[in-house]
Structures are given as structure tokens and as C-alpha cells.
């Protein structure tokens, strides 16, 4: 990573969601920005904090997502909210999505996270969320920092791009 000279662009991303689908935007943008010599800080809070756990078991849900359509045999199968009530549907949707991810050459979240660590993306775990959900830093991947709103704010005021996902 370049030193933060005058010309170095900076970006922060607040990561608030921890489902498989919502894990992609922050990690794709964070790693791509780092590859483009942008200095990146990712702040993981609330359900987003789970994305820093050593062992990831990410899921998708059809609930509250009427836009969700899965390609199937040349058609698209919509996922009405009501079907998420059926036991096993979210598990099925998660399996379908993971199969599609593999088939289409899309990186896994684990791979993107590893790339983020390699490219020295600064990843901050929210202290308050650790306390709130009784999580331990020991369960999180190596190389992360602990901080709070002020830690993010300090970075944000110096950044060119600040995203909330």
C-alpha cells in the first residue's frame, strides 16, 4: 500500500449487513479500490461484523426481498416472501446461490476477504457490536483492529469516498 501522500485517494465503507448477498458489494468495492491504489478502511458494525468471523457460513433469505429471482433452466424463478416460511427454503436458496457463484466464476467472500487482507485494507471491528452480541475478538480473523464511531469518523473526514452498505 502506498503511503497516504497528497494524491492518494481514500475510501471508507461502513458494512452493516451479514448475509451472503449483501457481503459482496463491500468486499468487491473494497478490494477493487485497493487494487486501484485507493487506501481503504472498512468498518464492520451490527450484522456486518459477522463477516470478520474466522469461519463464515453465510446465508441468503427470500424474506423481504421480492426482487430476488433465481435463474433456473433458462427461466427465472421468483421467490415470493411467503415461501421463506417453508422450512428449508432459505437453505435451498443459499445452496442455489453458492452453486451459481461457483459456476459463474464469482469469487467467494472468503477469497475476497483474503484479498482485502493481502492488499492491506484496514478492517475495523465495532467494539460496541462485539459487546452487544457477546462476540470475542478471538473468533475474528487476524489483522483486524477494534474501534468505534469516532475511529471511523476520523478516517471519513479524510476520505474522498464514504459508503454505507
Amino acid at each position: 500500500m502506498l503511503d497516504a501522500g497528497d494524491n492518494t485517494k481514500k475510501m471508507t465503507i461502513i458494512v452493516t449487513k451479514g448475509t451472503l448477498d449483501w457481503a459482496y458489494p463491500p468486499f468487491i468495492l473494497g478490494t477493487t479500490a485497493a487494487a486501484m491504489d485507493v487506501e481503504v478502511t472498512m468498518f464492520f458494525t451490527f450484522y456486518g461484523l459477522g463477516l470478520l468471523k474466522k469461519d463464515l457460513d453465510l446465508k441468503v433469505t427470500t424474506l423481504g426481498n421480492p426482487a430476488m429471482e433465481m435463474p433456473m433452466g433458462g427461466m427465472h424463478m421468483s421467490m415470493p416472501n411467503i415461501v421463506s416460511m417453508v422450512p428449508g427454503v432459505d437453505r435451498m436458496a443459499t445452496t442455489m446461490m453458492k452453486n451459481l457463484i461457483k459456476k459463474k466464476g464469482v469469487a467467494s467472500i472468503e477469497d475476497l476477504r483474503e484479498a482485502a487482507v493481502d492488499m492491506e485494507v484496514k478492517m475495523i471491528a465495532c467494539q460496541m457490536t462485539l459487546d452487544l452480541f457477546e462476540l470475542d475478538k478471538k473468533d475474528m480473523i487476524e489483522g483486524i483492529e477494534i474501534g468505534g464511531a469516532a475511529t471511523w469518523m476520523e478516517e471519513a473526514t479524510k476520505s474522498d469516498i464514504n459508503l454505507y452498505i
Binding site: 477493487t32 487494487a35 486501484m36 491504489d37 464469482v106 469469487a107 493481502d118 492488499m119
Partner: protein, 74 residues
Amino acid sequence: MADQTLDAKGLNCPLPILKTKKMLKGMTAGQTLEVMATDPGSIADMTAFCNQTGNELMSQSNEGDVYTFEIKVA
């Protein structure tokens, strides 16, 4: 003939860019890298990547579904 070649065929966004960056990191100024990709988004992305990082996109071409980029390290 490029100094190094990267086969990013079959990989989807943002992997071709991430792998390109990784390769470029190990190369020296003036060397060239040839990247092959099948992601149609890589046409726009490789241009944007080079514009932002200062590496020179010397050429791009495609044959069938394969896009080939030649990048000169800044």
C-alpha cells in the same frame, strides 16, 4: 511478446482486476503483462483500472469470447 501472461478466463468481476494487480506488483517498470479474460465487463474495467493506476493499456483485442489486454507497467 509480453514479459508475463495472466490467464483470467472464466473469472468474474472483480477477480480479473485483483489478479492483474497482484501480477503487476511483482513486475518492474517498462515490463508488459498480457491478460486474457472472458468477462465482458473487463473491457471497461481494465481501461478504468489503467487510467486510475497509471499503468498503460497498450492494446486490447478480442477473439471469440476471449478478451486480451496488454498492459505496460508504470
